[in-house]
Amino acid sequence: MVDLRVNIGALEFKNPVLTASGTFGYGEEFADFIDLNRLGGFIIKGTTLNHREGNPYPRMVETPSGMLNAVGLQNKGIDYFIENIYPRIKDYDTNVIVNVSGATINDYVTVCEKLNELEKINAIEINISCPNVKAGGMAFGTTPNGASAVVHACREAFRKTMIVKLSPNVTDITEIAKAVEGVGADSVSLTNTFLGMSINTETMKPYLSTITGGLSGPCIRPIAVRMVWQVSNAVKIPVIGLGGIMNGRDAIEFILAGATAVQLGTANFVDPTITIKVIDYISDYLQRHKIEDVKSIIGGMIQ
């Protein structure tokens, strides 16, 4: 048997396969299709201090090998989460990670403080890269100073494993990664979606109510792999890779590029059982290549 376990911050994951925030609901939506306990972890959707209605519809449009979304962090706020969702999902035998967003640093901090009290939430993912909200979101994630201000404040408030999710919409993503590493991030995850847009040429209107939205899916994978490779060479903390992973091969590609774990997002829409297939593929791949421990191929690309 091969060893699929990986470590990020203080946490151990039974395998490197997580689900990406905003694409996997609260996990429950997929419970009919897969055994959630087999996942390395799942990251639940972007949670903010207050209830948010998100953007008007249409919020989605398909693009070549991908999709644009403009959900805009719709969620019922952290208190609702704690009261209504947390009790339902806390006993899964996997790591449940909450993705945290905010319009101000204070928002982030308050959410972090509340999450710090939840026994079964061992990690959070700070989202400084959402392209679909006006205030906060990506604005924090595109400068080293903005990023480290948020992360520094969250670090004081949250004492367990803290992952920071980076925006790809920047000139040099390694700068941002180094900045958040410097203020105490335990890990960085990348990438979030790319800012894009699409126009219906017959109506001459944008497909999304917000004009621009976030691009995800295999179309972005070559760029995301490149960023993971650059960042993993620039920081010492573990990197979580994502962006267009559609199958086991793609997951291995990110691991070889330097990712300690991977997240699957859009792929869940195409195949709701994909996470399990990816876990099995990684295991088969290692056996086929006579490798005992997945940790030994992290960043293992041969140059």
């Binding site: 609901g25 939506e29 959707k45 998100g54 519809y57 919020r59 989605m60 829409f269 195949d271 709701p272």
Partner: protein, 258 residues
Amino acid sequence: MKKYLIDFKIDDNIQLSSNYSLIKLSPCSGLLPEVEGGQFAQIEIPNSKETFLRRPISICFFDKKNNQLWLLVRKAGKGTESLINSISNTIVNMMLPLGNGFSYPTKPNAKVLLIGGGVGVAPLLYWGALLKAHGYDPLFLLAAKSENDLLLKDYFEEIGNVYVSTDDGSAGEKGLVIYNTILKDKTFDKYYCCGPMPMMKGIAKIAHTNSIDCEVSLENVMACGVGACLCCVEDTVDDGNVCVCKEGPVFNINRLKW
């Protein structure tokens, strides 16, 4: 209801015209799961270079005896076109049954009208059959641009009386469906409606005016189909934005901000 991911085989693809197909499929193995009237499937488009996500398609009929599902598909773009052109034996993967279907009238002998426009008639066929099997006597009002777009009329006639409106008068009454004579009858207990948005809004208005209970089946752009991505929201009176794929596609008009 438990959701399944199942490979189907196309048994029969009946081209109703160059724009519509009635596709009959059966599972590659095993029995079909139960389906409610008005539920839908998320369909992987086979062999299509230009589509990426699944496409939501209503379950038009659930033929338990023959272990077969029917889909009624209109060519809207690349995905539906590819479906319409799929030959027999093509394998089609589906997630189903998804969403919440129509609900039975509260009154035992309720007088019900099922109103379908264009390809929107699709979910009404199975729902009509279920209503009939439960002792109701459903009437149908089918609307289309012209006679050529009037779909499955013969099938509906097997279940109940069918009224027709066409824009050009080539069949039934001429004009928009909201002007059809049957809608003057204020004694209906419930409407079930599926069709283009303006039509459903028109029907909802009539229902409101005449205090007729009314359920509509909404469309929206969908990615996941299971309430995970929040791409497909409709604004409700009671709960703000909710997912059409999970809390719908069928909504009572009282929940909607129409």
